[in-house]
């Protein structure tokens, strides 16, 4: 290992710890976001109603999926924020370069992904405990209420992987937006718009299915990790190119 590599690693680590301190306020926003999503999850479960002349039956289903989705939105916002000039200025007091700054950003995003992934899955437990104390058990379906420890761990791992993937996407969008602000709107619109197109063979939907329909955890993990590395790599290349451009 050359002295340059050691320097880059140690500087990145210093910047990483500095950012952990500097951006802790973002975690408060995550907590507020998750509590808000929990509140929405409790009030707006999916409902199915049926009946005949003598009975009306409704089955309302609840899940903490909204908490995970809100956390994904939070991590993507954080990833974009880290690429902004305002946040980049915070690195000024520390000696470093674009590469060390980007590496420390990736480290911070990974830490945030782990925290958000674990807490968003655990909010699902919180939801169940609230339901236990607030809903009559004779109205509650047992199946799905109790989670096994394995399911909880699996949910956490998958949530962390999704957070990592979305943070890498957000970071790339943020980098592109530094070049041209239009990307900040165009890319999310293109992603969500293409997913709404009713065509199973549409390219964007194939990409979506590539991740979401994978039922093997190992394969899914490999896909997400490789994709995240590529996205972060492209972001760093873009960042270096911008530095040279300036």
């Amino acid at each position: 290992m050359s002295s340059n590599e050691v320097n880059l690693l140690s500087i990145s680590l210093k910047q990483y710890f500095y950012k952990l301190k500097a951006h802790t306020g973002l975690v408060n926003r995550l907590i507020i976001t998750q509590m808000l999503a929990l509140f929405f999850s409790l009030g707006a479960g999916n409902s199915m109603s049926s009946g005949n002349a003598t009975v009306s039956v409704s089955v309302r289903t609840y899940s903490a999926s909204m908490v995970i989705v809100f956390s994904l939105l939070w991590i993507s916002t954080v990833a974009i924020l880290l690429t902004t000039k305002q946040y980049k200025k915070m690195e000024m007091p520390l000696v470093g370069n674009r590469m060390s700054g980007n590496l420390s950003d990736v480290g911070f995003l990974m830490t945030a992904s782990v925290f958000a992934g674990i807490t968003s899955s655990l909010v699902g437990v919180f939801l169940r405990v609230i339901m236990y104390f607030s809903v009559d058990r004779s109205q509650m379906v047992l199946d799905g209420f109790f989670l096994t420890f394995y399911d909880l761990l699996l949910g956490m791992v998958v949530a962390i992987l999704y957070m990592g993937l979305v943070s890498a996407m957000g970071y790339l969008i943020g980098m592109l937006a530094q070049d041209n602000m239009a990307f900040l709107v165009l890319i999310p619109v293109a992603i969500f718009g293409s997913l709404r197109v009713y065509n199973n063979y549409f390219f964007a939907q194939s990409i979506y299915r590539f991740y979401v329909e994978d039922v093997s955890l190992v394969m899914f993990s490999v896909k997400v990790i490789i994709t995240s590395i590529i996205l972060f790599g492209v972001s760093m290349l873009l960042s270096n190119r911008m530095e040279v451009g300036k």
């Binding site: 306020g25 002349a53 236990y132 799905g144």
Partner: protein, 248 residues
């Protein structure tokens, strides 16, 4: 979602108002909190938050699992059985013995009345006794002066939840030669079910099958009346609804 013209205007206005309020309040709160929320306090808050959530895990595992509704495993079979019963009903091959043994059919009440008249009339609340109720009359081989009334309910299923036993049986009474069948008033059931997060469903092969599990099946109720051999039946205006079974 149907929006009335008034709501059509009010909804965007409300959303706009919420956005304005949030935009004006958030900076004030953020400025005030930023002074209070040092990085140490934020770290402590994050630690407490994580700690509390972790503590809820053993709490969830310790909660009792009694008193909940259990989904039935063979919901499809129960539904099929209900359809067979309906089919048999039209074929006139039902007997009390066969009903008692029939899978997917529950006996929910049983009554015996002494008959002191030669004629039996019927009375029921038509608004509640609809096509969901089938009234069958069987003549006994003997003239024992006793009317037996049994009520049955076929499996009532919604999304795998069997709520048959929760449905109130009709009130049956006999007075001065008139058998009154009063169905319970309209009942409403509200069940709640927790589903896995999408992160877990992806690996449990449930992402695309949720709607299949939400099918509903409302089988009919059967009121089975056994009358003495020589009792005269006055079906009155209910002749279409009351079916007298052929003697065996």
């Amino acid at each position: 979602m149907n929006l009335s013209p008034m709501n059509f205007i009010l909804l965007p206005l409300t959303l706009l108002l919420i956005v304005i309020v949030i935009r004006s309040i958030v900076p004030v709160i953020t400025t005030r909190l930023s002074g209070l929320m040092t990085w140490k306090r934020s770290f402590i808050l994050a630690g407490i938050y994580l700690g509390v959530l972790i503590l809820l895990v053993p709490m969830l595992f310790m909660l009792p699992d009694e008193g909940y509704i259990k989904l039935i495993d063979n919901k499809d079979q129960a539904s099929v059985q209900s359809q067979i019963i309906i089919g048999n009903f039209h074929d006139h091959i039902l007997t009390e013995e066969s009903l008692d043994k029939q899978q997917g059919l529950y006996k929910i009440s049983s009554h015996i009345f002494k008959v002191d008249t030669n004629k039996l009339s019927f009375l029921y609340n038509e608004q509640n006794i609809t096509g969901d109720y089938r009234i069958l009359v069987e003549r006994k081989d003997v003239d024992d002066g006793v009317i037996g009334v049994s009520t049955y309910a076929t499996t009532q299923l919604v999304g795998g939840i069997d709520f048959t036993k929760l449905v109130s049986p009709p009130t049956i009474s006999f007075q001065e030669g008139t058998l009154s069948i009063m169905a319970a008033s309209h009942q409403t059931f509200d069940f709640k079910q927790l589903k896995n997060d999408f992160t877990l469903d992806q690996f449990k092969l449930q992402n695309y099958g949720n709607f299949i599990g939400m099918s509903a099946s409302f089988g009919p109720h059967i009121i089975y009346i056994r009358v003495p051999k020589d009792l005269e039946l006055d079906k009155g205006k209910y002749s279409d609804q009351i079916q007298v079974l052929s003697s065996r």
